[in-house]
Amino acid sequence: MDYAEKDIQPIPTGVPAKKEKITADSEAARYLQMQMHLKKESRGADVLLILLTLGFIYVMAILFWVLPDADFSAQENRVLASAPEISAENFFSGGLTEQVSDYMADQFPFRDFFVGVKAFSETVQLKGQNNGVIFGSDGYLTARADYPNETILKTNLDAAAKFQRAAEKKGISCTAAFVGRKQDVCDRYLPSVYGSYYSDRIWGVLEDITGSNGLSYLNLRDPLRSRAVDGEAVYYKTDHHWTSLGAYYAYVQVMEALGGAPLALGAFTAEEASRDFYGTTWSAAGVKWAPPDPIVYYHYEDDDAYTMAIQDNTMQFEGYAGCTYKERDGKQYAIFDSFYVREFLEKKDQYASFLGGNFGYTHIIKNGDGDRQTLLVLKDSFAHSMVPFLARHYDLILIDLRYYKASMLQFCLENDIDQVLMLYNMETLTEGDYLKVLQAGLGKGE
C-alpha cells in the first residue's frame, strides 16, 4: 500500500515542487488502508451496501425484462420506444446502440416514479424549475419560454392583415383576437425576479407590426391579466390553457368586438366536470405531489339543441357515447349532440373533452334554427373552451390551419360565412408560420 516517492512526483511544470505532505495517491491509499484495516468491523455495513446496490441493479434489470412494454405514455403524450430489431446490419450501422438506449429509458420500470424522484430532488435543491417548467406560487406551473421568434410573428400577422383586408372587401367582417400565454397573463404567480419575462416586449412588437400592416385586433391578454391580478383563476395551474372562466371573460370581449351582446355569467349553470385534471405543465414538471385543477363546464338552458360534426378520418371516437359516424364526400364525420366528449375526463388529456381535441374542421349548429349567422373561427386549442359560449350566438365552423390547408377566402364565399374570428394564442403565433396559408387565393396585389 505504500507508494514510492517516484510515484507521486509532480508533473513537469518546471517549477520545483514544494514538499507536499498529502498527494492524491497518498490520500487515497490512506483511506483505502483505513477501510481495509476496518475490514472485519465494517463487514456488516459492506455486505449491506453490496446487497442494497447490487440488489437494486439486479431487481431493476430483471423487472425491465419481465414487465410488459408500454406503447404510449399518457404523461408525455407520446409513443414510447419499442424493442429494437436485432440484426447485424442494424448493429454495424450504429442504429442498435441508440435504439437500445431509447428503449431502455422509455421502458424502464416505474418510470413515472423516478421522474417524480428527480423532480423532488430538484425542488429540494431550490432550483425553482424542472424540465423547463417554473414552479410558481400557489401551485402555478408555467413553461419557461425563450424570447419568441419575431420573424415568425411578423409572417403570421402580415398574412392575417392581408386576409382581413381581402375578407372585408368582400363584405365579410373579420376580427382578430390574440390570447396571452400563461406567463403573459398569470405573471403574478411567477417568481418576482422573473416576472413575465419579456412579455411586454413581444406584445409591443405585436403592436408595432399590426400598426404598420394595418391589422386591427383585439388584445385578450390585458383584460385577462387584470382578472388574474385580482386573483381569479383564469388559467389552469397545471396546464397552459385558460380555464372555462378565463374563456368566458375572453368571450365577453370577443362578443363586443363582433357586435353582439354577451350573455351574463349568471345565465349559465356551472358543472364541475372533473376535479383531477393534471395538465401539460404538470406532466413536464414531474411534480407528482402538486394538486390537480378542476374542469368546469358552463351549461345553458338550450344545451341539448346543438350538433357538433368533427371531420375525423381516423374514426378515433368509434364507440364513444352519443357519437355516430357519417360519411360525406368520402370523408368521415363524427357527429355528437354536445360540445363535450366526456370520455376524455377518464383519460390524462382532459382538456380534450372540449370538442374532442384538435381537428382541422369542426362544424357546430343549433338544431332547427336556420336563421343564425355562421361564424368562421380560425383558431388553436384555446378556442375550444370558448365554443360553449360562442355557440349560443352563431353557428360555428372551426378551422385549425395547422391541419386544414385551403384558401380561406374561397371557403368563406362557398360556405356563406357571415363573420370571421381569428383567435390565436401568442405561442401559436410565434411558434410556426401557421397563418401564412391565409394568403392563399387572395389574388394579385394582396
Binding site: Q9, P10, I11, P12, T13, G14, V15, P16, T23, A24, Y31, M34, Q35, L38, K39, R43, G44, A45, D46, V47, L49, I50, L52, T53, F56, I57, M60, A61, E76, N77, R78, G94, V100, M104, A105, R111, F114, V115, V117, K118, S121, L126, K127, G128, Q129, N131, A143, D146, Y147, P191, V193, Y194, G195, Y197, Y198, T280, G357, D380, T428, E431
Partner: protein
C-alpha cells in the same frame, strides 16, 4: 457506452460483474478481455478492429523488446520506435489528419488542394487514451520498469480494461503489471469500489450534468438575450461541469477497478483549491500529466539541463498537451496559454504569489483557469470572442435581465453545493464518519444506495420529454 447510462448499469454492469465473479480466478483476465471488447464494440462495432490491431502490434513489439533489451539494445530500441510510430500513426490519422490537411490547404499550392479531406472518418472513442496506454507498455519494458506479459489475454485485458478505456485515467503498464498477474478480490475492496463508483456517478449525473444544462442555456445566448451576468454564470457552470464530469468519470473508473481488484492511481486532487497554476496542473488530470512527464519531458532532458533547454522542453510538453485534447487551434492556444503562465510562475510569479495573502493567489488561479476554460470550450474562435464580449458588456441587451437574475437566484444553493464539492471537505467528513463506528458505516451504506436510486432517477428523467405542445 458511457458509465452514466441506464444500459451500462442495468445491462452491461449487471451481466459483466456476474460473469467475472462466477468464473475461476485463472479465467478472470479472459472474461475481462471479452467483456471489455464487448463494452467497446457496443459503441464502436467497426473501430474495435483498430484496438485489436493495436493489441497485437504492441504484444509483438513488447515481446521483442523484452527479448533484446539485455542483449541488443539497438534492436530493442527499434521495436520501441515501431510501436510508438504505429500507435502515434493511428492516433494521428484518426484524430489529426483532417485538421492537418485542411490547414495545409490554406497554403497556395495546387497539389495540396488535391489531398482528400476524409471528413467522414470519425474519431474512435477513447483512442487518445488507449494509444497512450499501449505505448507505455513497450517503453516500460524497454526501461526495465515492467516485465513482458506473455499471456496475450492478460495484455489484451490491460489495453481494453473497460473501466478506464474511454476517458482515462491513463494507466501506465508498470502500475498494473503485478495486478494483472495477481490481485485481491474481497468484500471490503468491492464495497470500497462501489462507494467510489457511486460517488463518481453522483458527481457526473447530479452535479456535472445539471451544471452542463445550465451552461448550455447560457451558451445559446444570442444578441437578443445576452447579459453580462448570464455570460459569467455560464462560464462558471462550465468550469464546474468539466471538473465534475471528468473527475466523476475518473472516480467511476477507479471504483469499477477496485471492484475488479485493481488499484488505479487517482486522477484529480481538488484542482480548484489550487493557489497557483503550477499547483493546479499537479492536481488536474494527473495521469495525463504523469504520462507526458515520464515519456516526453524527462526523455527530453527535463530540468536537468540548461535553463534554455528546460524552457524548450516545457514548451514542447504544453504544445503537445494542448494538441492532445483535440485537433483544433483553440486547444493549441489553450496549451500555449498555460505554458505562458507556468513559465511566468517559474521565472518570478510563484515567488510573488507566495508572499501574497492566500485568497489573492487563489483568486488569481481561479480567474486564469476560468479564462482557460473559455479558450477550451469554443472550438470556433469567432463564437468564443462573441461570448467573451458578452462577459465584458459588448453586444449584450443589459447587464442583467429577468431570465439571468432568476437563474442566478435559483442556483444559489446549487452553486454552494458545487463549491463545497470541489474542496476536500466532503471526502474528509465522509471518512471521519466512516471511522466513527458501525452505525455510521451502516448509514453510509444506506446513503450510497439512495444516491444510486437518485442517479437512476436523473438518468430516467433525461429521456423524459413530454410533448408539451404535441397537440394544442
Amino acid at each position: 457506452m458511457v458509465f452514466s447510462s441506464l444500459e451500462f448499469l442495468f445491462l452491461y454492469f449487471a451481466a459483466s460483474i456476474m460473469l467475472y465473479f462466477i468464473v475461476p480466478l485463472a479465467f478472470r483476465n479472459v472474461v475481462l478481455l471479452i467483456v471489455s471488447l464487448a463494452f467497446y464494440g457496443w459503441g464502436e462495432p467497426i473501430y474495435v478492429t483498430i484496438m485489436l490491431f493495436s493489441i497485437i502490434v504492441d504484444y509483438i513489439c513488447g515481446y521483442f523488446v523484452g527479448k533484446y533489451r539485455e542483449t541488443d539494445k539497438k534492436k530493442a530500441r527499434r521495436f520501441v520506435i515501431t510501436s510508438a510510430v504505429i500507435n502515434l500513426g493511428i492516433l494521428g490519422f484518426f484524430k489529426y489528419y483532417t485538421f492537418i490537411v485542411s490547414n495545409l490547404q490554406l497554403l497556395p499550392f495546387a497539389f495540396l488542394q488535391k489531398i482528400p479531406l476524409l471528413a467522414d472518418v470519425k474519431l474512435p472513442i477513447g483512442i487518445s487514451f488507449y494509444t497512450f496506454q499501449t505505448m507505455s507498455y513497450t517503453i516500460d519494458i524497454y526501461r526495465g520498469d515492467a516485465k513482458v506479459q506473455h499471456n496475450i489475454a492478460s495484455f489484451g485485458a490491460y489495453v481494453t480494461l473497460f473501466p478506464q478505456l474511454i476517458a482515462g485515467p491513463i494507466v501506465r503498464y508498470q502500475d498494473v503489471d503485478d495486478q494483472l498477474r495477481c490481485r485481491p478480490h474481497n468484500i471490503a475492496l468491492f464495497a470500497s469500489g462501489m462507494r467510489t463508483f457511486i460517488c463518481g456517478m453522483a458527481k457526473k449525473i447530479l452535479l456535472a450534468n445539471c451544471a452542463g444544462a445550465m451552461w448550455e442555456g447560457f451558451q445559446a445566448l444570442s444578441a437578443t438575450d445576452a447579459t453580462v451576468v448570464g455570460a459569467w454564470l455560464g462560464m462558471l457552470f462550465y468550469a464546474f461541469q468539466i471538473y465534475f464530469d471528468f473527475s466523476g468519470y475518473s472516480d467511476m473508473a477507479i471504483g469499477l477497478g477496485k471492484m475488479l481488484g485493481f488499484q488505479f492511481k487517482e486522477n484529480f486532487f481538488y484542482p480548484y483549491v489550487s493557489k497557483s497554476i503550477t499547483e493546479f496542473w499537479r492536481r488536474w488530470h494527473i495521469s495525463m500529466g504523469t504520462w507526458f512527464r515520464e515519456y516526453v519531458y524527462i526523455p527530453l532532458g527535463g530540468n536537468r539541463c540548461s535553463k534554455l533547454i528546460n524552457l524548450r522542453n516545457i514548451v514542447i510538453v504544453w504544445l503537445l498537451t494542448g494538441f492532445w485534447h483535440g485537433a483544433s487551434w483553440n486547444y493549441v492556444l489553450w496549451g500555449v496559454y498555460y505554458c505562458i503562465f507556468l513559465m511566468m510562475e517559474k521565472l518570478f510569479l510563484q515567488k510573488l504569489l507566495q508572499r501574497m495573502p492566500a485568497f489573492v493567489s487563489h483568486l488569481y488561479t481561479l480567474v486564469v483557469v476560468l479564462f482557460g476554460w473559455w479558450l477550451f470550450v469554443f472550438e470556433d474562435l469567432g463564437a468564443g470572442i462573441t461570448y467573451l464580449g458578452y462577459m465584458f458588456g459588448q453586444g449584450v441587451v443589459a447587464f442583467s435581465e429577468a431570465g439571468a437574475a432568476f437563474d442566478l437566484l435559483r442556483s444559489v444553493l446549487f452553486l454552494a453545493i458545487l463549491c463545497i464539492a470541489s474542496t476536500p471537505l466532503p471526502k474528509r467528513l465522509f471518512y471521519k464518519l466512516y471511522e466513527k463506528g458501525k452505525g455510521a458505516r451502516v448509514a453510509i451504506s444506506a446513503g450510497c444506495a439512495v444516491m444510486l436510486v437518485l442517479c437512476t432517477a436523473y438518468l430516467v428523467d433525461s429521456s423524459y420529454n413530454p410533448f408539451l405542445y404535441f397537440r394544442f
